[in-house]
Amino acid sequence: MELYKLTAHAAMDLLNKKEVSSTELTKAVISRIESVENQVDAYLTNTFESALETAKNVDAKLASGKTLLPLEGVPMAIKDNICTNGIRTTCASKMLENFVPPYDAFVAKKVKAIGAPMLGKLNMDEFAMGSSTENSYFKKTKNPFNLNCVPGGSSGGSAAAVGADMAMYTLGSDTGGSIRQPASFCGVVGLKPTYGRVSRFGLVAFASSLDQIGPLTKDVEDAALVMNLICGHDEMDSTSVNLPAEDFTKALSTDVKGMKIGIPNEYMGEGISAEVKEAILNAAKLYEQMGATVEYFDMPSLSSALPAYYIISSAEASSNLARYDGVKYGYRTENYSDLMEMYKNTRSEGFGNEVKRRIMLGTYALSSGYYDAYYKKAQQVRTIVRGGFENAFKKYDFVLSPTAPVTAFKLGEKTADPMEMYLADICTVSINIAGLPAISLPCGIGKDNLPIGMQLIGNSFDEKTILHAAYAYEKNAGLELKPQI
């Protein structure tokens, strides 16, 4: 097998047995990137030199007889909305085209501290707003399973890079499905942790009450390993929860006997394509064969989650993105005669269409006279959705659903109508609204060789149960996906 195809845990094993060096692994992935990047367009910035430098240090440590930390020496990459000290962090926006952060995000620091060769920064929808990565100011990433299709979004570069073996794992961010939906489209595993699990320090804010950083990996075991690395309390993020460290790999078991699974009818009805529905039903059947019980239940509040999500996320975005005014960092217009003109021209020239649309929508929802009708209403819906999940978790160990209503769509297919693009998030936004953890993993292959993903939703801070159930499925299903490249 080619070295670049290895999962992170398989690469770790080979490193520890000294059958391969970190330099060899890193070089193998770099040459893979060099040979397919012109087809996939996953990377915005590469940092191959410093990655090789890190790999060299890891190899020296290995040679001196020391044992490596988990994931030490395993090459990876980071979504371009996570700040990296001295490395351009653009959010795929003209606004931050030349922004070089003077500090590391909490997760970037963690990755550096264990000696992970960081290969570069990955493409995304501008400021993480979008479901196809077509809103990037710089380039359009393609789906490794079908180059005419989108990789999903907003972490499209992070998902495509893992799907095309251009990194052994990546970090993404998820505000309404931005890790899980692209993971589903690109046939990889993506996990959105419980809100508060992973510090958001250094993550460029989109919607602060919903944003969460998480892993995109080649399998479930890798997701558990990356979770071990990035979780933990951080005093720089006041929403970071102070919980004792957990070893998520301890949850990986293939025994699901007696587990209770609930499937909400709302996520299996209108709008969900036939092939996706069938794949979820087959997965449910497999769980039953493995000794779990499956029940369907109604959760009517789910249908209110999408409109509530677009109100809350746009409102928070309009407030968060007020900071891009041409003063402290990023782009400043060349045409202005006074301060107000500088603000307006900077923002109008620096932001793309989708970002402007969300800022407009959020400003409208927060403006005088509309606050109660939209923002307050949406936050009340949030209470109802949370309550719906709380009830579900009294009966079920986890909730199962499709990750996305369809498989990857064609480039350009949904760019004309923003509402149609928003529907791509219908199964994922409720999880962010409720702050819950959820994992997406491949559960089938649809037409045109496109992967189908399923979503396992867990109770608050119960990532272990969904990792356990996902691992059991993955080992039993034995699904084989074949990317086009």
Binding site: F99, V100, P101, P102, Y103, T194, Y195, G196, S209, E235, T239, S304, L306, P307, Y310, I311, A322, G326, V327, K328, Y329, Y331, R332, Y336, S337, D338, L339, M340, M342, Y343, K344, N345, S348, F351, K356, R357, M360, L361, T363, Y364, S367, A373, K376, K377, A378, Q379, Q380, V381, R382, T383, I384, R386, P418, M419, Y422, N432, A434, G435, L436, S460
Partner: protein, 95 residues
């Protein structure tokens, strides 16, 4: 819910965005669609339901009021499009 072009322009000013006539027209249609979608929530009875701001309980995080090393001023200022004498530089706002 209808939204007028004047409202679109009013909101754009609040958001510090310039819109061309064509952009204002496009946004008028798009925002009307999205707002109509948001209006489906008005059928939902939320009387007496507490709004949720954060999915987890957020509490004030306090620490001792003490001097600590912070980021280097020049490093932060280097991110700015214009600076002068250790400060951000902007067009004159006070006569």
């Amino acid at each position: 819910m209808k939204i007028t072009k004047d409202e679109v322009k009013y909101v754009a000013n609040l958001a510090r965005l310039n819109l061309t006539e064509a952009e204002a027209e496009r946004l008028q249609t798009e925002m009307a669609d999205i707002i109509a979608f948001a209006d489906t929530l008005s059928n939902l009875d939320t009387e007496g339901i507490e709004p949720t701001n954060h999915a987890i309980r957020v509490e004030n995080v306090l620490r001792e009021d003490e001097n600590r090393p912070s980021y280097d001023r020049d490093a932060l200022l280097n991110c700015a499009p214009a600076k002068q004498a250790g400060c951000y530089s902007v067009p004159k706002v006070v006569e």
